[in-house]
């Protein structure tokens, strides 16, 4: 059937679709498209018919996708193929292959779906998770306070059984609080992973504030927390929440896994074209068998020596997420019973 006739009879139906449809033959020549596809891809009227997709579709990624599907004879699906001219339009494209009765490849049909709407929904979901986590923080915080009041005896002396139960409530509540904080951090990192909010960052300042936040915990455990930061360090282009979470988790980990009376040292300096962050502790150290896994989400050493240490196992995956998002690298050296050192290198440019 001539191309013109196909187009005319299907016209009204295809043109009523909210999605774009683009049909090619097995060689990548455009044989059919609807009005929506025309708008989305900037095709000019009937000129594109019979032409190679690369000659008429300005979006390289989409062209590559269709060609790949045709040459490998495999359907392809991708998210967020951006249109070059109209930067705001994001298209989710699905390339299906058309075969005849004998299985011979006849061509491709690409479905183009505008995901601007979807991105908005994704944002709402992620905002929702963030919002719920924030909402959970207050009641958890109050509950912790209430258990502390009970344990301190302010409202009267407790018997052993009562004390034991309330201590358990407190521990569980603290666990939930940590999890909520970690979920929030993961949310921040996921957002920071796409690096949507980038600004020049002063790492010294961020480190200083992090130390203020963790100092009380270090004091409680009688751990000496020392910081050595070089002056006049260059600013780094990055995501603030991401870097804050990185510092917080590295230093909190050091404190958590170091016994009372121990030491945590934090260093910040320039090393060639990188900024080097070093966090070392005199803590319990990491066994060889665990070192390869510590950056995995939820991975924690579960043994006699760590069972009393609270934590969700997300800390280092958050750190790694932040380091990766900033194109940096992270190293760890450790000796069981002696201590651990984490070194992060972040490129300055």
């Amino acid at each position: 059937m001539p191309h013109r006739i196909i187009k005319e009879s299907l016209n009204p139906i295809l043109d009523s679709l909210a999605d774009g449809i683009l049909v090619t033959d097995a060689k990548g020549n455009i044989i059919l498209y609807n009005q929506k596809a025309e708008t989305m891809l900037g095709l000019r009227g009937a000129d594109a018919l019979g032409q190679q997709i690369q000659d008429h579709i300005k979006n390289e990624a989409l062209v590559r996708l269709i060609n790949k599907a045709l040459s490998l004879n495999v359907p392809y699906h991708t998210e967020d193929v951006c249109l070059i001219d109209s930067g705001d339009i994001k298209l989710r494209s699905h390339v299906s292959l058309v075969r005849d009765g004998t299985g011979q490849l006849n061509g491709s049909v690409t479905l183009l779906h505008d995901v601007a709407q979807l991105s908005a929904i994704d944002k709402v979901k992620s905002n929702f998770l963030s919002m719920v986590s924030h909402q959970l923080k207050s009641p958890l915080s109050s509950t912790l306070l209430q258990t502390s009041i009970l344990l301190d005896g302010i409202t009267g002396e407790l018997n052993d059984k009562q004390r034991d139960l309330i201590q358990k409530i407190k521990a569980k509540t603290k666990g939930m609080t940590d999890l909520v904080n970690d979920i929030l951090d993961v949310c921040y990192i996921e957002e920071g992973g796409s690096m949507t909010q980038i600004e020049p960052l002063n790492l010294s300042e961020i480190l200083e504030r992090t130390i203020d936040v963790v100092q009380p915990q270090a004091r409680d455990k009688n751990i000496s927390l020392q910081v050595a930061a070089e002056d006049n360090l260059p600013l780094i282009s990055g995501n603030k929440s991401s870097i804050e979470a990185m510092f917080l988790n590295l230093i909190m980990n050091a404190i958590k896994y170091t016994l009372s009376g121990g030491q945590v040292n934090v260093g910040l300096r320039k090393d060639r074209e990188y900024l080097e962050v070093k966090v070392s502790d005199t803590g319990i150290g990491i066994e060889d068998k665990d070192i390869l896994r510590i950056f995995e989400k939820f991975y924690r050493e579960r043994s006699e020596r760590t069972k009393h240490i609270s934590g969700t196992g997300l800390g280092l995956s958050i750190v790694k997420g932040a380091v990766d998002a900033h194109h940096g690298s992270i190293y760890v050296e450790s000796e069981v019973g002696k201590g651990t050192t984490f070194t992060v290198l972040l490129p300055v440019r």
Binding site: K137, L140, S142, T143, I154, T155, D212, E244, A245, L248
Partner: protein, 134 residues
Amino acid sequence: MGRKKILLIDDDIDFVEATKIILESKSYDVAVAHDGKEGLKKVNTERPNLIILDVMMPEIDGYEVCAKLKSDPQYEHIPVLLLTAVGEAISSTKYTLEMGMKLEADDYIPKPVEPAALVERVENLFRISTEKNL
């Protein structure tokens, strides 16, 4: 000299109740307000010696209340302890850094807060404030 009075401004009722118990057990008088607006009114009627202020509140948040207090000559001398959530503690220090001398009496503490830590910060702020007035 008399008992010192603390004004607690926070929309979390449970937190306020629990904190009141803790502070009263340490012989402080405690007045409470559940939002920024009420808080600002009570600063005037209660004349507290110290204010504990939650950052996350509806309508007027803690930062705004703190800014209003610190720019009012009647109240700027009252030490303010900001209650923040971890992560926000970091951005809240813009007050301490930017506003210099006036805010040396100020502090912040992240929630969840241990009673002992809260009491320590409060006593610390009172001590600093007394030393300044000598």
